[in-house]
């Protein structure tokens, strides 16, 4: 099943500048695995050595943060929109 994944601008260099990608998977974990297959290098930006979501990256399914659902095992269904939201700190410099 394919879902839309929104890529934040800091990661778009890895996706050939695409802001939205269609990716297969029944859970977030599967979607991330497929993302890494198609866009090598993106995986390590999102998950750490043990495969857990990095704590300064949030992934949302529609409007909900997966950390408050089933984490990477959060199931997704047809038509869901997955968003990757990194912490950013710019403002004053």
């Amino acid at each position: 099943m394919a879902v839309t994944v929104r890529i934040p601008t800091p990661l778009r260099k890895l996706t050939g500048n695409q802001s939205e990608i269609r990716e297969e998977g029944g859970t977030i974990r599967e979607v991330l695995k497929n993302l890494e297959v198609h866009y090598p290098g993106i995986g390590e930006r999102l998950t750490d050595e043990s495969g857990e979501l990095r704590r300064f990256i949030n992934i949302y399914v529609n409007e909900e943060d997966i950390r408050f659902q089933d984490g990477l095992d959060t199931k997704i269904k047809l038509g869901d929109e997955v968003s990757i939201i990194p912490a950013i700190a710019g403002g004053a410099e």
Binding site: S19, R45, E64, I85, A89, G90, G91, A92
Partner: protein, 270 residues
């Protein structure tokens, strides 16, 4: 305190709004807002708050104005290059509105001075440029039970949220439990930022501050507003309070402000 004639003229567009009125304008004139960072975000925030007649505006920044700032930091100008940003900013704000008392604080915000610096203000605005400062601002605002209006920008995207961890709403640590480690991230000057993005995000922050002072409308409390300038899209996501938040959760492990504000402008590396 009755308005002077010139104030009735100056604030007439506010006063005729029934949601603001004379009473709301008095609240604005009596309000004290601290703006962390007198740069890209701090400029539009402070300028709109000054124009709105917010009576006391504190500006915190240790840097001096550089020519590379002028692409987005509209409070400063060619004439103030080399001047401390807080003094350059104070000059701009005082020229805009003599009703406003500007308190320039040319200092680095640290875990040691944050509580003292914040204690006298009603609302805190975060427009800083590094994660270390953002966690210090969050923690001090939480301990002092102050509303924190947080904004951040990078490249073509911005984020805005209102943090009130002292209530049943989330704090910054609920949203982002940890800062990216220093090794993983390039600097802001490498990553770049679209200048007008600072205006968009800073102005949204100013709107939230004014609404908070007036007690009107709905704030971005428990919500993260995302703006993508390239797609010209705005989206709102829900931010729940983290029940195991080490700061604002029921079993906190962080009981005082700590940490360093030295990491500058970090993002996950592209």
């Amino acid at each position: 305190m009755p308005f002077r004639e010139d104030q009735i003229s100056r604030y007439s567009r506010h006063i005729i709004l029934k949601e603001v009125g004379g009473r709301g304008q008095e609240k604005l004139l009596g309000a004290k807002v601290l703006v962390i960072g007198a740069g890209g975000l701090g400029s539009p925030v402070a300028m709109y708050l000054a124009a709105a007649g917010v009576g006391t505006i504190g500006l915190v920044d240790m840097d001096v104005v550089d020519v590379s700032n002028l692409q987005r930091q509209i409070m400063h100008s060619e004439k103030t290059i080399g001047m401390p940003k807080v003094l350059s900013g104070a000059r701009t704000l005082e020229r805009m509105n003599p009703d406003v008392r500007v308190i320039p604080i040319q200092d680095r915000l640290t875990a040691e001075n944050a509580m003292d610096m914040f204690s006298d203000y009603d609302v805190i605005v975060d427009g800083s440029d590094n994660f270390g400062t953002r966690y210090i601002v969050n923690d001090a605002a939480f301990f002092l039970q102050k509303t924190l209006v947080s904004g951040s920008i990078l490249r073509f995207e911005g984020q805005v949220t209102v943090l009130e961890g002292h209530t049943d709403a989330p704090c910054y640590r609920c949203l982002y439990p940890e800062a990216p480690p220093p090794g993983l991230v390039p600097s802001c000057s490498e990553a770049g930022v679209l200048g007008v993005l600072a205006g968009t995000i800073g102005t949204l922050q100013a709107a939230e501050v004014v609404k908070k002072i007036l007690g009107i409308g709905h704030l971005l409390t428990g919500q993260l507003l995302l703006y993508d300038a390239l797609a010209m899209s705005f989206r709102k996501l829900r931010v729940p309070k983290n029940p195991s938040c080490p700061l604002c959760g029921p079993a906190p492990t962080i009981t005082s402000v700590s940490g360093s504000s030295e990491w500058v402008c970090q993002i996950p590396a592209p």
